[in-house]
Amino acid sequence: MIGKQGKDLITIPLPTIEIPKFRYGAKQQGGVGQGDGEVGQSLGPGQEQPGEGEGKAGQGEGNHLMEVDVTFDELAEILGEELQLPKIEPKGTDRIVTEKTRYTGINTIGPESLRHFKRTYKQALRRQIASGTYDPKRPVIVPYREDRRYRSWKVTPQPEAAALIIYIMDVSGSMGDEQKEIVRIESFWLDTWLRHHYKGLTARYIIHDAVAREVDRETFFHTRESGGTMISSAYKLASDLIEKDHPSSNWNTYLFHFSDGDNWSADDTRFCIELVKERIIPHVNLFAYGQVESPYGSGQFIRDLRESFDGDDRVALSEIADKEAIYGSIKDFLGKGK
């Protein structure tokens, strides 16, 4: 579904619907091509016809899949449009402004290191032909000063707000692979959306069963542990993190917690709610809790949270039944524009 390509490009297949017709199976049919190559040389791996003619216009047969590269930013735009997510207004007055340069055009002056060879060559060739000094027998192109073309750039100021995401996941015995997969997909989209709004976003990962610890990204998504669940341990660790490393005045903090909602005891749940109320909510933009449905969990935790935080727009609660529900859940979390 999603593959990271290079630094920040991902590939989205654009599937097309093909109307069924009586047609030949491709593999037996083969075809006629044009170009170099020995008999027996490979033209590329199977599946489709190799490059079924893409002419300029007209009714060429379409390829079955068209792959389009999109940047994460564009992907986030699409996500935002699709889910009608409100834009996030970063908080904090001391926003850092950085300058970003992009190469946007061509200029006749510039440093030699930015000289655009092809354009320069073309310009020189054009001038020589127009002035009649071009000799096809001895096609030497000598660019003049005026022929030279350079890349030119634009500088755009970009406000930068610091943001922090804390992901917390329950890795107790009752969270199976399927639940983790749901968490992985959902956090990918959350990540994409928030990274779109904040440059320089920091992510911290916490896993917990009966005790909590901070881990790196890799471990976060791949650990499987067993044992009981004490959610308070994770909230405590998270609030410590926030207070120590990321004071709320400078940071836009987001906390996402995923669990199957089966806490150890009612006492612990009470302690959790207290922690959230006093040490987490005052410091974060959003406290989000996603409850993944699991065959083992009672799913009580979300009800307790709902009871205590109903109507607080810094708290987002969502129940995720299966992969299909991820879509709605993202909207639950990000629909508040926090």
């Binding site: 009586f22 300029k56 216009a57 009714q59 054009r126 032909i129």
Partner: protein
């Protein structure tokens, strides 16, 4: 789609149009009046998705095509330079953002197409007022949608489109004779050949010959009881005439069929048409219209148009090279008996009879040929080598496509196979009362390539929904003959031999 603002070309382009048109006329191109419209890239994409028409009936596939074109353009992957439709007057669209040299190139290209549309035999039966006809179709379908709801209509259009290629591409050009109405009656003996000398009877009409005639006559009579009498290629027409369709369903099916027939000649002459247009834009530009300062850009874009990619066949490239080859051959007299029989390589290489018939010949060719006959007649072994043509096949062991052969014979056969019947399998209605249960039997004339089975099954489902009774398709898969059957509920296969 919103109707386009009615705009004439800006003066500079209008001047260019006159200039290029003059050159085209000078070379003897013959076209209907050509109306150029200047569109933005987005409008071009819209029109292109509609197959070149500003007005088509609503259907999701147009949106899908638009999406692809728009994405392709926005990501810089593809760009539509030119769009021209077969109509009188001929409409052509220019892209607003194109530089002047491109506009010239496109205009020259368009006059080439215009000439081809007007003169090639394959287009003689097409409706030259298709622009209006398409708009009428759109209105008819929209009315039906208002009456019956978009879901039903769209669903039915989908089904019809699935059968769209089951038409008889050659029927507009010949008259498929209805059964001979010779009132021969049951039991009448065949006469044999005319014979005035009785004693010669045994020699002129031997018994075996008479028996043969008798057998044929019996067969013919038996055939008359079948329905349809002889296999019918135009499956859509057969359904129109004989399937239990509601009036609105008939209406839609007729629209889909008409449009399929209208577009068929363009599919049958893709190589010739694009080749012809490219030949003329190249000729007009390089000998007349091009200014010195435009040479580079022109060369760049022309090269892009006729570029070769390994593993695909560019109709522009093959077409233009074939025309040039023909022109060269007829200019130098490299044809006919003498040329064919000459074995000496040096002599062949310097063969030149100074005939100068090339131009005349290619004008003839553009009138009387379609892709199949064009390739069949003018593809030469020399051309195959020059153009580096090859045949590729799928290698199951290595799971890749690979070059299978560079032999002239193999290339030509494969090319012709891909072009015959527009690259579609040949399928006919053979029996509408199959097994005496009013089931439909179609027969696929297997020519060495199997059908795509999953698609075939889906298509049978569509067919069944029109015919209402079970449908059968006789074909061969992996060397075994069988009948694919869909009875409205489920698919089944059975071994069969016809």
């Amino acid at each position: 789609m919103a109707s386009f603002r009615n705009r004439s070309l800006p003066p500079r382009l209008a001047d260019l149009e006159q200039e290029i048109k003059g050159y085209a006329k000078e070379f003897g191109l013959d076209f209907y009046e050509v109306i150029f419209e200047l569109l933005s890239y987005d409008e071009v994409n819209m029109v292109a998705a509609y197959g070149g028409y500003p007005n088509r009936y609503p259907h999701w596939r147009f949106g899908m095509d638009y999406e692809q074109l728009a994405k392709g353009y926005e990501y810089g992957l593809s760009k539509i330079y030119e769009l021209v439709i077969n109509n009188d007057p001929t409409y052509a669209y220019l892209l607003e953002s194109n530089p002047e040299v491109d506009q010239k190139l496109v205009m020259a290209h368009v006059f080439g197409h215009g000439d081809f549309f007007k003169n090639n035999f394959a287009f003689q039966h097409t409706n030259r007022k298709m622009m209006d006809e398409m708009a009428n179709h759109a209105t008819r379908v929209r009315r039906l949608i208002d009456r019956l709801g978009i879901d039903r209509i769209e669903d039915f259009i989908d089904r019809c489109l699935s059968l769209e290629n089951l038409i008889d591409y050659h029927s507009p050009y010949i008259k498929r004779s209805p059964s001979s109405a010779l009132g021969d009656e049951e039991g009448q003996r065949p006469h044999g050949l005319r014979n005035e000398r009785e004693y010669m009877g045994g020699f002129i009409n031997p018994q075996s010959y008479l028996d043969e005639l008798q057998r044929k006559a019996d067969e013919e009579r038996a055939q008359k009881k079948r329905f349809p009498e002889r296999p019918q290629r135009d499956v859509l027409l057969f359904l129109l005439d004989h399937a239990p369709l509601e009036p609105w369903e008939q209406d839609i099916l007729a629209i889909v069929r008409e449009e399929a027939y209208y577009f068929a000649p363009q599919g049958m002459t893709k190589i010739m048409n694009e080749g012809w247009a490219s030949y003329w834009h190249s000729t007009i530009m390089t000998t007349r219209a091009l200014r010195d300062s435009e040479v580079i850009d022109y060369a760049d874009h022309h090269a892009g148009t006729v570029s070769m990619r390994p593993g695909s066949l560019n109709p522009y490239k093959i077409g233009i090279e074939l025309y040039r080859d023909i022109e060269r051959r007829w200019n130098t007299g490299r044809f006919g008996k003498e040329w064919e029989e000459c074995d000496s390589l040096p002599e062949r290489q310097s063969w030149d009879k100074q005939l100068g018939l090339g131009r005349q010949k290619i004008f003839e060719v553009r009138k009387h040929y379609n892709d199949v006959t064009f390739i069949d007649e003018f593809l030469t072994p020399e051309f195959c080598i020059d153009q580096k043509l090859f045949v590729y096949d799928y290698n199951d062991k290595r799971q890749t496509w690979e070059i299978a052969s560079r032999q002239f014979k193999a290339v030509k056969e494969k090319l012709l196979h891909r072009l015959t019947n527009f690259g579609n399998p040949i399928i006919e209605v053979v029996d509408a009362n199959f097994e005496n249960r009013s089931e439909l039997l179609l027969v696929h004339k297997h020519d060495g390539v199997d059908l795509k089975v999953d698609d075939a099954r889906h298509t049978l489902q569509c067919l069944q929904s029109l015919w209402r009774r079970p449908v059968n398709l006789y074909t061969r898969l992996d060397g075994k003959s069988l009948i694919l059957r869909f009875d409205g509920q489920e698919h089944s296969d059975q071994k069969a031999e016809l």
